[in-house]
């Protein structure tokens, strides 16, 4: 990518202040949208740009917006998903802390397009600084009438509020997020109805990820043709990649979507594995994505190519494991995470995750039975697709993939008298 887009202001001193943002042309796209465009035109533009959701599923944002029923008579809500709870993911926090007004402008344009007058940013509870910076940014924007009543005397009004979570991975799932925002436990709900029809307190609700919304001002400013010069077929625009684990240079890197392969990302951005070790395995899209072996990472890092390789780009959080990594330990670490974070509504996920933890502990303590590997695969099959929300799959996929691709490491830990 020739220039930074989402991170174009991040290096500036006081980048989080409205004065800095305005000096960089900030809010002019919201002004253009309000004064020169009608809402349907904006949605159409976002559709044509092919902006796909950056939260994990890669669903086209403009199409999602168009699911809101016309004239339901109910208020419509926009919820910005800033829960960023997927292990290995730490990209949205960069936008929120370094360029909060970019997010607010993205929310404002989207809200105008959808017909929203109240939007919430659901930020994970652990992001104390991020929440404070956003609150201050909202206050700044309100003082200058970019938010609030009768914005720029157009008659359009919008409030944005920050809502802090309180430490629950599941609240990154959109229906759980809605339950949590209603003041309840973060319990996912059966879809349909989809939130665009019946979400926050039964009202039409759009849930979009931080990075998704941060793309919107640029689409208004520079148009569809420019947007589609970045990225690969059906995967357009700028993308933030997170790289962590066994790499020399962990961090957040902005590239065009699919500009590099997973392997190039690790070698060129992550600067390779420490101590000249080799890559053993990679979770390409947070820990919920099926694992890829070192032989499988020469694949374009976009939604479609990673899916064709048998995994998913997800939140673009690459977790890299070197050749010395004990994959049985990795599997226990994952199982324990999902067992802890299961909301407990669905038996297969609640109990299955705990069974996996128990069996894996037995392995690590040297008591693995020869049927245990197949038992764990069967548990995964019995969780996957049998739960209200995708947490079941998010736990079954990575664990099943490690069991299949690194079976010999589990066999090496079977009890010797088995």
């Amino acid at each position: 990518m020739k220039e930074k887009v989402l991170l174009r202001n991040a290096h500036l001193p006081e980048s989080h202040r409205i004065a800095t943002y305005l000096s960089r042309g900030g809010y002019k796209n919201f002004k253009k949208a309000l004064k020169e465009m009608d809402p349907a035109q904006i949605t159409e533009l976002v559709k044509e740009a092919g902006l796909r959701g950056r939260g994990g599923a890669g669903f086209p944002a403009g199409i999602k917006w168009s699911f809101v029923p016309k004239n339901s008579g109910k208020p419509i809500y926009l919820l910005c998903n800033a829960d960023e709870s997927e292990p290995g993911t730490f990209k949205d926090i960069v936008i929120m802390e370094k360029d909060p007004h970019l997010l607010l402008e993205g929310i404002a344009i989207a809200a105008y397009a959808i017909g929203v007058h109240t939007a919430f940013i659901y930020i994970r509870g652990e992001f104390h600084d991020g929440a404070r910076i956003l609150e201050e940014a909202i206050e700044e924007a309100r003082r200058e009438n970019w938010l609030g009543e009768n914005i720029l005397e157009t008659g359009y009004s919008l409030d944005i509020w920050v809502h802090r979570g309180a430490g629950a991975y599941i609240c990154g799932e959109e229906m759980a997020l809605i339950s949590s925002l209603e003041g309840q436990r973060g319990y996912p709900r059966v879809k349909p109805p989809f939130p665009a029809v019946s979400g926050f307190f039964g009202c039409p609700t759009i849930v979009n990820n931080v990075e998704t919304l941060a793309n919107v001002p640029f689409i208004i400013e520079r148009g569809v043709d420019w947007y589609r010069t970045m990225g690969s077929e059906r995967n357009y625009g700028p993308k933030l990649y997170c790289i962590s684990g066994h790499v020399n240079n962990p961090g957040v890197f902005e590239l065009a979507l699919g500009e590099k392969t997973l392997k190039q990302l690790i070698e060129e951005e992550g600067k390779g594995v420490p101590n000249n070790k080799k890559v053993k395995a990679v979770f390409p899209g947070g820990s919920s994505a099926p694992v890829l072996t070192a032989d499988e990472i020469d694949v374009r890092a976009d939604f479609d190519a990673v899916q064709q390789a048998g995994s998913m780009l997800g939140s673009a959080g690459l977790i890299v494991m070197d050749e010395t990594t004990d994959m049985v330990n990795v599997t226990l670490n994952l199982a324990r995470f999902y067992a802890h974070e299961s909301c407990g509504q669905c038996t297969p996920c609640r109990d299955g995750s705990l069974w996996l933890v128990k069996v894996l502990r037995r392995f690590i303590e040297g008591g693995g039975n020869k049927d245990d590997i197949d038992l764990m695969l069967e548990i995964c099959d019995n969780i996957d697709g049998r739960t209200i929300c995708p947490l079941g799959a998010a736990l079954a996929w990575p664990i099943r993939s490690v069991l299949q691709k690194f079976r010999s490491e589990f066999e090496a830990k079977l009890r010797t008298d088995a």
Partner: protein
């Protein structure tokens, strides 16, 4: 507001939060955060007045505080140390760092030191994997931890 044990300043702050939402009940999490900032934890005697304030049955408040990990019951230390144990941190030695803290403080997961200074907790992903291994002490995140670095950080906690 002697009855509820909640002072007027808190009630005013809570009402300002409640006004942001279409229903009072939606403000339960932010009101609990505010309560915890003011009073340090969510105590049993807070449950009923908070329930009344946001117009939900008391059981809803109990459901919520037992579901989310960031609401604390009374008895936690002045410094709550949360050590991330999820994958990226674990790959870079989080388990050893936790053991170091456990031995140094003489407490295990969820326990508080006898002097009331530290509560030690193993937690899941804190969303800062680029600086793994990480821990949070109260509101502050510390990354690229080593045993020495942890020792220096703890010395600054009074």
């Amino acid at each position: 507001m002697v009855d509820s044990g909640l002072d007027q300043k808190f009630i005013d702050g809570a009402e300002a939060l409640i006004a942001r939402y279409p229903y009072r009940s939606a403000a339960l999490l932010p009101v609990l955060h505010l309560l915890q900032e003011r009073y340090g934890s969510v105590a049993d005697e807070h449950i009923k007045p908070i329930a009344q304030l946001v117009d939900v049955p008391p059981i809803r408040v109990r459901e919520v505080i037992t579901f989310y990990t960031m609401f604390y019951r009374p008895g936690r230390g002045r410094y709550v140390i949360q050590v991330c144990r999820t994958l990226s941190c674990s790959l870079l030695g989080a388990d050893n760092l936790y053991d170091h803290l456990r031995k140094k403080l003489g407490v295990d997961n969820g326990e508080t030191t006898a002097d009331g200074r530290f509560t030690l907790m193993k937690v899941e992903c804190l969303g800062a994997c680029d600086i793994a291994p990480v821990m949070q002490i109260n509101d502050k995140t510390y990354g690229e931890l080593t045993e020495d670095k942890i020792d220096r950080i703890l010395e600054e906690c009074e």
